[in-house]
Amino acid sequence: MAKSSLPIINVENLVTHYGDTEILKGIDFSVNKGEVMVVMGGSGSGKSTLLRYLLGLNVPTSGRVCLLGKDITKMDANEMHVMRKNIGVAFQGGALFGSMTVAENIQLPLYEHTRLDKNTMQIMTGMKLEVVNLAGFENLMPSQLSGGMIKRAALARAIIMDPKLLFFDEPSAGLDPVVSAELDELILRLRDAMNMTIVVVTHELESAFKIADRITILDRGKILMCGTVDEVRNSDKERVHNLLNRKPRTDTVNVDEYLQRLTGHGI
């Protein structure tokens, strides 16, 4: 269901390290304009790491990360500043500022990047809160909200600048099925109504199949497969099957490697 084939995110041969450990091992990844791309994978597969590099929070060892046609790894601070106005991010734990009310949290990007007057900001905040079904909660502090409400408030903050690109980290983690289904609906509405390109990182299968135009599956720092929902469902790769059918990993143990890991040096 991709709306157009113009890649708005393009990652080429991304290699990243955490200390000496290689986390992402040459990722090629692209997202087209107006589509919902779901990045899936088990714990430790590198999906959260990939998100951090897409957001420009870390500098990769090598490779290119192009957002909206520009390579963010080569950008200076000012260019990055401009780029970030086009990006919205809803973090896993919400990352709302505890010392501010919900409305102040949502208005922060407006306050920092625009010169709108207070009334306009309040109206815009109200509109976004309506979108995420949180109208009337403007003056509560984040600590007074439930998990689902925090995620929705974080989403409202992410879309307050009407970004072209929206990143969503684990929208369903820790939520009950009803709330997480509502969030899924919301993501689809945002794509259709505001023509946003959305990248969702999740490990919830049901949610992924519901919202995705395409799914990328990461495994141990490499891309296992990338395709539409049907392609993923019908994939004959064993590891994809395992992930979809919740089978535990049944890798055969290489004795030499195992011993090397235990002893810390070669034998």
């Binding site: 420009g56 990352a95 922060l108």
Partner: protein, 259 residues
């Protein structure tokens, strides 16, 4: 052993470098932020002045008053055998303005605000709020650290002047009984002894202490790792480190300023 010394040295130099970069970046945002569309907000500066400066006025008064009184008690007792009790006035005036006020205030602020700053930034770091700032295009150093620098550089000298007065008043209250002097006359004599340079010594030091406290608190906050325990460790480290550095810096600058 040698390996450990090497590692510690590298880590220390690394950390000093980070502190220096943090200082330059904060100053950079203060002066150029306006032209880069990311001004350091006056509102944030005043908020910080409230929490660092205004709210610590009572405790600053009590501490400096007590130190002044303690110096008077010690001074009078020590000078009694020589019959030189009246010298206690200049002794207190000089030691409080040059030394004690700035030092006591800095230690109090390091304990009170330094730990709070580290805990706040550390918690924000742990709950991805610092990342959230960055992805919103809000530089964390500009938003969180730069207002603290200004607030601390304003608050600490103001508190130090207040401490000077309260320290001398503390001395006056005790000495007035012992020396049969009225408090106004004691204060008048103190002011006669003091030169502008004496007060300036304390103020220059308080500016240096301000930079140390903010740098240590903020850098420890940004470097937090490992959840709630990490925040706790960083907070402790921040307080111990800033108080130690304040005392060491005091010794070094006293050498240059007092001679």
């Amino acid at each position: 052993m040698v390996n450990n010394i090497g590692k510690t040295t590298v880590r220390t130099i690394d950390e000093l470098g980070y502190l220096f970069v943090l200082l330059i970046e904060s100053l950079g945002w203060l002066f150029t932020g306006k032209y880069r569309n990311q001004p350091v907000r006056l509102r944030h500066i005043f908020q910080e002045i409230m929490s660092i400066g205004v709210k610590s006025v009572p405790i600053a008064c009590i501490l400096c008053f007590s130190v002044g009184m303690m110096l008077a008690i010690q001074g009078l007792e020590t000078l009694k055998p020589y019959g030189a009790q009246s010298q206690v006035i200049s002794g207190i005036a000089l030691s409080v303005t040059r030394e004690f006020s700035a030092l006591i205030i800095a230690i109090m602020v390091a304990g009170r605000s330094g730990s709070a700053i580290t805990a706040r930034i550390g918690t924000m770091q742990e709950s991805q709020e610092v990342d959230a700032l960055r992805v919103m295009g809000i530089d964390p150093v500009r938003y969180l650290a730069a207002p603290l620098f200004v607030a601390m550089l304003i608050s600490l000298p103001c508190l130090t002047i207040l401490g000077d007065l309260l320290g001398m008043l503390g001395g006056a209250v005790y000495s007035s009984f012992e020396l049969n002097l009225s408090i106004p006359i004691y204060m008048q004599r103190s002011f006669d002894v003091l030169s502008v340079y004496d007060v300036m010594q304390g103020l220059i030091k308080s500016l240096i202490f301000a930079v140390i406290i903010v740098l240590v608190a903020v850098s420890n906050g940004f470097e937090v790792q490992g959840g709630a325990e990490g925040v706790g460790k960083a907070t402790t480290r921040s307080v111990v480190m800033s108080i130690s550095l304040v005392v060491i810096a005091d010794m070094i600058f006293t050498y240059f300023l007092a001679r």
